[in-house]
Symmetry: C2
Subunit: 133 residues, 2 copies
DNA sequence: GTGGCAGTACTCGGATATTTGCTGTCCGAGTTTGTATGG
DNA sequence: CCATACAAACTCGGACAGCAAATATCCGAGTACTGCCAC
């Protein structure tokens, strides 16, 4: 029970793209160097973010990634779901009569966390970061 | 990022022990049958609960497990921590200057979930279960 | 100078290790209860 | 009738096997920019 490193890379990449001048293309190389990760592995993570519609890529020389429009609405939860999937954190597959009370409590707990993460926007954090500089 | 099956087994076992007449010893066999799990595997999980001081075991014939005193205070969070450990769900091991804002947000989110689970006592749930019967 | 051509710098995607943690099994050892056996 | 021995029913703990997911690497293919060269 732990968030994967991939999620961490995805969050940091999104934050970086949000801080950098918008519409500027950033290559995987540069993103990977900042996080000390192999470019090929990071690119697989970014592919998920592309498919989730959060960023877009342009190939070829001087290519790279950048945020898509309405990126300001993207929350932490969106990014986490894009990487980890949308499945519930807890699933009771025991077949004990009625629906599982334990399951219900666990799902409710999970929702508490998600509620918070849904309100944490990458754009808000980016604003705070630039203010410090 | 998922809760392990072991956590599910632990929660169900604790709930069962809380519903059954107190001080009665229940063998691993019986507990394992109810959850369709191999007794040897379940015993490993129960060992963790013993070390966490939630239940106690007596060996030998007619031996088994039972709850310890002050079990009524045991929360879902206690059980989860006993099985999954106390480490934070999210750890940013990148060395990027100051402490990581992303890490802070993730930890706060985690605490939202934990706050809820800390208030869910096994004894409360057991009370509800018996009321239904 | 301008149109094509090759080289370069990228991303994309699939295939494939490597590692790690969860799940599960096996077995020997210790412990308690119950039973049988022998004096 | 009592004591001792033995068997049965347990838990305990370590060692180990299997498996799936996360992590990471490699490589071929496609794509866009740049510069060069011939006409």
């Amino acid at each position: 029970m732990k968030f994967s490193k991939a999620t961490n890379y995805a969050l940091h990449t999104m934050l970086f793209l949000a801080v950098v001048p918008p519409n500027k293309l950033i290559g995987v190389q540069q993103l990977a160097e900042r996080q000390e990760v192999s470019p090929t592995y990071l690119s697989k993570i970014l592919t998920k973010l592309v498919k989730a519609g959060m960023i877009e890529s342009t190939s070829g020389a001087n290519g790279g990634y950048r945020l898509k429009r309405n990126w300001e609405e993207i929350s932490f939860l969106d990014i986490i779901h894009a990487i980890e999937g949308n499945a519930s954190l807890f699933e009771c597959d025991l077949n004990h009569g009625q629906d599982c009370m334990i399951q219900k409590i666990m799902v409710t707990a999970e929702e508490k966390m998600e509620d918070y993460l849904r309100n944490q926007k990458i754009s808000e954090l980016a604003k705070k970061m630039t203010a410090v500089l």
